[in-house]
Subunit: 318 residues, 2 copies
Amino acid sequence: MASDLPAEFALIARHFRPLAGPGALDLQDDAAVLMPPPGRELVLTADAMVAGVHFLADDPPDLVGRKLLRVNLSDLAAKGATPLGYLMTVSAPRTTPDEWFAGFAAGLAQDQREYGITLLGGDTTSTPGPIALSLTAIGHIAPGKAVHRTGAAPGDRVWVTGTIGDGALGLAVARGRLADPTGHLLARYRLPQPRIGLAVSGIASACMDVSDGLVQDLGHICRAGRVTAEIDAALVPLSDAARAAGPGWLATCLTGGDDYELLLIVPPPREAALREAALAAGIAVTRIGAVRSGPPGVIVRGSDGEPMVLETGGWSHF
Amino acid sequence: MASDLPAEFALIARHFRPLAGPGALDLQDDAAVLMPPPGRELVLTADAMVAGVHFLADDPPDLVGRKLLRVNLSDLAAKGATPLGYLMTVSAPRTTPDEWFAGFAAGLAQDQREYGITLLGGDTTSTPGPIALSLTAIGHIAPGKAVHRTGAAPGDRVWVTGTIGDGALGLAVARGRLADPTGHLLARYRLPQPRIGLAVSGIASACMDVSDGLVQDLGHICRAGRVTAEIDAALVPLSDAARAAGPGWLATCLTGGDDYELLLIVPPPREAALREAALAAGIAVTRIGAVRSGPPGVIVRGSDGEPMVLETGGWSHF
């Protein structure tokens, strides 16, 4: 009788089955079933994270799990979608200790409760390389109401949520290049706060989350809408911890990645609605510039009013 | 003006944008929108593939792309679902030549046409390790009609599609351990044939695809249904190429992975319907055994009628 469970299945049963939702068939099937909410459109997004590229091998595993989930929820937030569930694949070296999986799953469980979602399915494999994670998040929205990257028009204003640059500075902290007496920067790098709940639909003419750096991501919106954006560096909201790092880190804040704040393009008549929606969601929003006609691109004005020269437009994961 | 496209985005534009379907927003957004067919349930599955584990680093990249898609389509086929589209994440070393991506995308394009699906979204990142791929496939089915792993009952018969063992023997060929004069085995290892189109819903009481080895996967069905399965090794359909390998390879055929055939549990009154559905789909089906009450597990009877002793119950990817 061949009925022993090999390592892969024991691992799934021990750590991932408790995360499974009703459609996941207890992860005992190779596929999940999901009845979409009637009359709703689905919003789908997938992001990969690799140890040594998107997180550090000795990062606490629960925070790795939560970050994997949150970077995807951040993409759903930018569309104005409500999260439903997710599928996930985990490729890890055979030597990965069971405690790593336990911590990783505990982090996912915590955020499943926080965001009201469940695991629908996935796959676990070994790899001779670093841990490679991939997650597909599924949300829903009223048909035609998803906010896209296109849509920025001359006269619109540029807004961001929260504070910019903490993630990039937190990475510098993790690499021992910057002090972080309060721990704020490292925490922001390790645990993004997806802006789920901010009602961007019907308010923003274009929206995306800032994951590859403010300037680069604003550049994406400008290319998609064929407009020029001008932002004022002095208006970009910085945390106290980022200000304490000093002006030498400003360029890092503007071009570094891992913010997971929302970048919103808002026509002036809707700015009041944005302020109201932000108040209702308990999320800070700040106007940092405007969109005008011109060649696709981003101009960042420094305190002297002159365009700043930035070495890099952002962070490429490839 | 910061508007240069870094490598990641140029790569996506060059190779993956042509694969995008209508809901994918040209892959210029971080998320896709999808209106599910009205009144249909969604079926979702995700599988990862890592170079050196699931494919060989020097496998032709178009076949790697097609295999990645097909192993997921095989899971949809086992549920009886119709494929809709997919999301994909690709983590590859920075040294990966552009030709690899071009070949990989060409393979995906070919199978998109073959199966009538499109790319909905995804992510491309670098990795210091081997190429790590992850794909989430989405299909649809009438509500409540998906076939599950549970449901096998005493008296049901065990059926398989196609031939068993070619994939495992093909891996042995790729590793230089077995001759393959016709090339059939290697082709079967590199390019699975997902049994999309076989109407399993309403016929099979349980179904799954054979990806980790016939004996192990049948063991999953037995555990899920709390039954014993007995199969007759002499009835397991082998290709001419597998027969030519000789009886010394029989155990590999029964326990090796990578078949991507369907394993169907069928009550006797529905066997005629299975034969008809198989004829309509142009897919061979073979009865190899039966299910009875007893402890969960699989008994494989050899040509002498005695249970065979198999060293391994199947292939674990972890």
